[in-house]
Subunit: 470 residues, 2 copies
Amino acid sequence: MANTTESHPNKTIAVVGGGLGGALCACFFAKHGINVHLFELRPDIRNQKVVKGRSINMALSRRGRDALAYINCEDVIVRNGIPMRARMLHDLKCHTAAVPYGTKPEHEIISIDRRILNELLLDEACKYPEIKIHFQHKFVSWNPENKIATFQNKSGENVDFEVDALIGYDGCHSAVRAAMMKTDSVNFSQEFVESHYMEFCIPPKNGEFVMEKNYLHIWPRHDFMLIALPNQDKSFTTTLFLPLNIFQTLTTTDELLAFFQKYFPDAISFIGQEDLIETFFSSKPLPLVSIKCSPHVSTNGDILLMGDAAHSMVPFYAQGMNSAFEDALVLFDKLKQNNFQFSTAFFDYNKTRIHDVHAIVDLSMYNYREMSHLVTQTSFYWRKKVDNCLYRLIPNWWVPLYTMVTFTRIPYKQCLALRQRQDQVLKLFRLTGYSVAGLYLLQKLATFVIKPLAKTPIVQNILPRFAATK
Amino acid sequence: MANTTESHPNKTIAVVGGGLGGALCACFFAKHGINVHLFELRPDIRNQKVVKGRSINMALSRRGRDALAYINCEDVIVRNGIPMRARMLHDLKCHTAAVPYGTKPEHEIISIDRRILNELLLDEACKYPEIKIHFQHKFVSWNPENKIATFQNKSGENVDFEVDALIGYDGCHSAVRAAMMKTDSVNFSQEFVESHYMEFCIPPKNGEFVMEKNYLHIWPRHDFMLIALPNQDKSFTTTLFLPLNIFQTLTTTDELLAFFQKYFPDAISFIGQEDLIETFFSSKPLPLVSIKCSPHVSTNGDILLMGDAAHSMVPFYAQGMNSAFEDALVLFDKLKQNNFQFSTAFFDYNKTRIHDVHAIVDLSMYNYREMSHLVTQTSFYWRKKVDNCLYRLIPNWWVPLYTMVTFTRIPYKQCLALRQRQDQVLKLFRLTGYSVAGLYLLQKLATFVIKPLAKTPIVQNILPRFAATK
């Protein structure tokens, strides 16, 4: 039985969505002794057939790990993944170069199979007697008058559940959000990007990884890119991001192979020519969408949208799952501050969290340009060098954007604001044309001016400090 | 029988929505000999009971009138409305001041009852043998494979219609748009404003209008405002626009009357104290929303969204209906250019029209600030004076934004771009502190520099000309 810290036997919550965020959030409530009905549209994933080589990978980082640690699941989940310590860039001539994610040993991201992670979280939820999981239950409606949530079970019958509040963790096509938008004035936007994606598999060869294991492999090509994340079965989940109009020009085997030969020559043999052709012509390019909505709480304070239901983002900062998990951490801070009064805590959560998740939705779009475009430019390397160099010298004063987002719990909106401040400082460096001389000057400035100054009490009081949580 | 100009007996179109735009558009198709199925969710409005004093008014201007003229309905509809030649501003001391809409006699807007307009358009549609109207038919689905549109009739049965294409003119909650968003990647945003609205009636007194007839009356109060439009029954449809949080502070009769006494003293006696109280406490403040989506055409080119289904706007430029009507004019330009090939014309329409309707959605939001806030400032008067003065002097070179939007058919996006150019020029004027001296200088500049220069062939060739269509 899992560890319950307190007891609220009179409170019951409905969590809609038994995916990653919903299963995690159910455990959070149960840990505090709150009764949970967890509803999932699909059958139990743990009883489904595994399709070999068709995994989807998640990249777990600080925010997600902290949330897993809250329910004592961090270690088991990290053990089921593969750490990635750097990006491995593949150029047109098949040369590779590593660009580390951070400067410290703990600056690693965990590549983990979505299905394994979901199964582990459902196993964890099953340990709490407070949680009842209802698979194949489709959300139908919420009645705010008598607080009854209605679901359609697999026999097609409507079943009512009386609960204190409703959490919509039901993904980017959220049925809870759709219901809330019918009764409340919800600002909403969805934006598709020109790039679509298609997944391939790089299988192991002679029982071994065919590329270096502990890396996120990237083939950046300006308007498009290929990425590959390692799995524990020694395969790589490989994703092609390509504008739809280019996808549509590749109509024959020859066109496809010529395209890969030109832009991703080494990837052809990794994926295998036959599998590449088979997968490409039997799959449909899938769209990528950014979704924002506001507010995340209903007018009555009885419904809260979390995770992808509240904020879907393009996958280029790998913060979709991490931000969805962090939502639970932020909510439970608010619940504790408000003595577990749901509606007050929901309004409090909405007030601050909304700006942070809007920031990460925007940052994810920004990182798409960085991953596909900027990594091919010299200025990108220099920016990373300057960032890391300043971070080493004045770690409480200068944290690179990627590090803040991925390896700290600094609120996303603050990450964005700090980056804008850093950009002002870096204009100095840009004036010298990203040169070694400029880097040298900045380094000297940091060592002899900023660092000693930073130690004076006056400056310490005036300027904000942004230490990482770990 | 209405006048049909040509014949396309093999073509059939489904128009969803028998409101203003849908009824008009059906006539456009029929005029070109195309068969039309026109579907409306509600029963025939012409058989419904008239609720006295509960009218909603539309403000018809150039774009709308040109569309009505296309189906020979302009005159009959204008005769059923009341022309408004100026804004009549009411200040806190009950003083009034008129600010004309334009400089020419034809610069008037027609105030017309929504219901009367809809009835006239349905009557017109009934004259064409090409049009079949289906009331109480709810759009269910569109099958692009066999081009079958399915509707649920009032008995609850599904009925199929085989057509060449589907037009969604079904308003801001469009069912056609919702269906298209399920299959296609449609960018979409909806944004509510803090202001909500509530409608009152200023009845006639002794059989006469209680205020000057040919004006749009405005009580601008920065964060909120009251407006009143004349009706042929000598009443005024009166609308209060107020932030929701202020609505919520008015919970008692005393609070309501004190609020009106302070901000709209003359309006209390116009509406009548008892009616004011009765209406206020029996009505719910209604929200205002801006909606944009992109594209307006389906991937297959077989569905087109028009009017509010494609672009809903806050009502502050009175261009919601006018832009919805102009959509039909633009579509038929494209249809004629493409020899009535629906999909090609739809794609063509989407390419240009989308930017124009996004511009008017934005301009409507901008005009909210102008109507409620700017009209109370001296700079607003001066801007209008300068605008009109320059317009008189160099009418081909300087058309005020309001005039362009309301009294010409200059594409909305171009209106916005021209205004931005004008703003640059007006910085000159602003530098002199909006003074009479500044106005004098600008006038002289126009008379002795711009006007003669404008007549030289070189300048005429270099600079674009923006003459109004009428």
